[in-house]
Amino acid sequence: MTPPPGRHLPIVAATPFPRAAAGALRDTQLRATLGRATRTIRDKRAAVVAEVPDWERLRERAARVKEDVIDRLPELVDQFARAATAAGASVHHAADAAAANALVTELVRARGVDRVVKVKSMATQEIGLNEALAAAGVTAVETDLAELIVQLADDTPSHILVPAIHYHRGQIRELFARRMPGFSADSDDPAVLAGAAREYLRRTFLSARVAVCGANFAVAETGSLVVVESEGNGRMCLTLPDTLIAVVGVEKLLPRFTDLGDFLRLLPRSSTGERMNPYTSIVTGVTPGDGPRRLHVVLLDNGRRRIAADPVGRAALRCIRCSACLNVCPVYERVGGHAYGSVYPGPIGAILSPQLTGQDAGHNATLPYASTLCGACYDVCPVKIDIPAILVHLRQTGPKPAAERAAMAWLAWTMRDRRRWRAALRTARSGGRPLRVLTRRHGGRLRRAPWPLSAWTAHRDAPLPAGESFRDWWRRTHDR
């Protein structure tokens, strides 16, 4: 058992979710941007998933493979390390974020460079690698367009797959004009903006000697890393620089090379709503004259083996970071990713962040409550993570206010005895009587209530106990 990692990580919520969410809701521009964007991806995904007749079987198989991986993590880590080493890679093990950051920093320094190019990677976001490198005097340049936008803005990503989903193009043009060297266009046409970013990045690629990436999958059998992307920036980073450093969460392992087939069908349809992603790169060790001459793989635990030991929570480790759950989540759609206070937002973030850090870290214990348990996330998850079940599990194992505990215990005590329950119903009924009279013109509904029920009446009328409970009606009409 590793202790929970540091509280400073970008997966620790600094603000309770309800407060952060209420703030985000006031940004009407953000809500419009997010609503449009999530609806577009949601519809695209639904259309391409509907084309696959054996989608449910694919999900089942993928879930089973991932469960097997979680069962055999230590064994597969060893197998991967042996295979990758045999293919010419150097494999390192990092127990937590600090160890991983130290390892990568040291490897970069050993190459004598002060700049690295990066392929979008959630694992490096999770450990705050860019910040750690900056502290060591190394600039990490994000090469994924959306990550570049977020980086130029000194912002944090708000979506796993579409990190700049909270920007509209006018804002991006303004940002490029301010922060991108050599940018001069006065158009906010997406093609023009992408073209400018391409020029800027191309110069960076050609001069970079070290690249840092993550991996969507790591094959234990062959020691291969698989990187799935859309823009070709990943392919550049994986092939041009002479040193490649990959930071890979241990849950990314797959046992066999042939397991990739199902996952490469599931991932693009679930994430971007495409039948196939434009670039899939598979890197197995080093090959003389082709690609990097040095390949380092840092296998990151950072709480994963601890999660694997939780019989309910461990299913979160199946996640392939497609973000389909974000795009269908009614909560995410309205508040955006920043409200979750973690690089893992949305439903998957609400079960991943508190598990990675422990629920006592920052305000991560508020995240499992950031859901109505509507189940839309579970329906779209390509690896069938029952997110609502894990949210409930985390609520049940996490901290709760003493007053709420007492109220729930009292309520259950009252409800599990027939006489106490009937007495409570009668008390509610007679207590409600004057209110029913007073609220007659509102149809017998309460428009304003004192705290804590004011949270209810702030947005909707409250019902009052009926003049006659069902059981009293039943007694009057049926128990004669």
Binding site: R334, P368, L373, C374, A376, M408, W474
Partner: protein
């Protein structure tokens, strides 16, 4: 058939008309309804708010209250989903009982109004009720069914979510209400009184809004008027 009713604590205290409608409907179809008086709450509220121990007490309590009953019905999708996951009770949501067990879609109801139907999340995604409630409503005489835009979107209730994340819940409710008003329906029907209390509470603050109604009330009706 002898059918035991799990009315739910919420209906018992706040919406007895939903229980009365369920009884009226089943008796009209020639069945015998019983009401095991030991029942109260299924424990869903406690469980979903994170209080496992009291939830377990209530699950066992409910199981004991219905011991020996072969067919249990409840007019609440979320309570049925909870009982199905945590007890061995042979419990059916009302539309499941009618369509799958009793094999009836035309229950002889008449409801001369325009109605839109919101498929609640538990009914939609946990019980997979599918079009059962809609088929039942479609067979009601003089009822005009109007489609609700984005029906599968959650209304924002979510039990204590409505209190703990009141602002987000309110934003989701506002969108659901806007969709409901846009239909021009007289009534918004659903399969769960809890969601209906939330949506109805929001609709009550809007002009020209549909009124909330449990679909059991519609199926029990045999003429003008919300309840049979």
């Amino acid at each position: 058939m002898r059918i035991a009713l799990f009315v739910t604590c919420l209906n018992d205290a706040f919406f007895p008309r939903v229980g009365i409608a369920t009884v009226t409907l089943l008796e009209r179809l020639g069945h015998t309804v019983t009401f095991p008086a030991g029942q109260s709450c299924c424990g869903q509220l406690h469980a979903n708010t994170g209080h496992r121990a009291p939830a377990r007490d209530l699950e066992r309590h409910t199981e004991a209250a219905f011991a020996g009953h072969d067919v249990v019905v409840s007019p609440s999708g979320s309570c049925v989903a909870h009982l199905r996951a945590h007890t061995r009770l042979p419990v059916h949501e009302l539309s499941e009982l009618l369509v799958d067990v009793l094999r009836v879609t035309d229950v002889g109801a008449r409801f001369p109004y325009r109605v839109t139907y919101h498929p609640t999340c538990h009914g939609l995604r946990m019980l997979r009720l599918g079009d059962r409630p809609l088929r039942l409503l479609a067979a009601v005489r003089d009822l005009e069914l109007l489609p609700l835009p984005e029906p599968e979107q959650c209304c924002g209730f979510g039990g204590t979510f409505a209190l703990k994340n009141a602002a987000v819940s309110g934003a989701m409710l506002a969108d659901k209400c806007a969709h409901a008003v846009a239909t021009g329906a007289d009534y918004l029907a659903a399969a769960d009184s809890s969601c209906l209390a939330h949506i109805g509470g929001g609709l009550a603050r809007r002009p020209d809004a549909p009124r909330p109604v449990h679909y059991a009330e519609i199926l029990a009706a045999t003429g003008p008027g919300a309840t049979g």
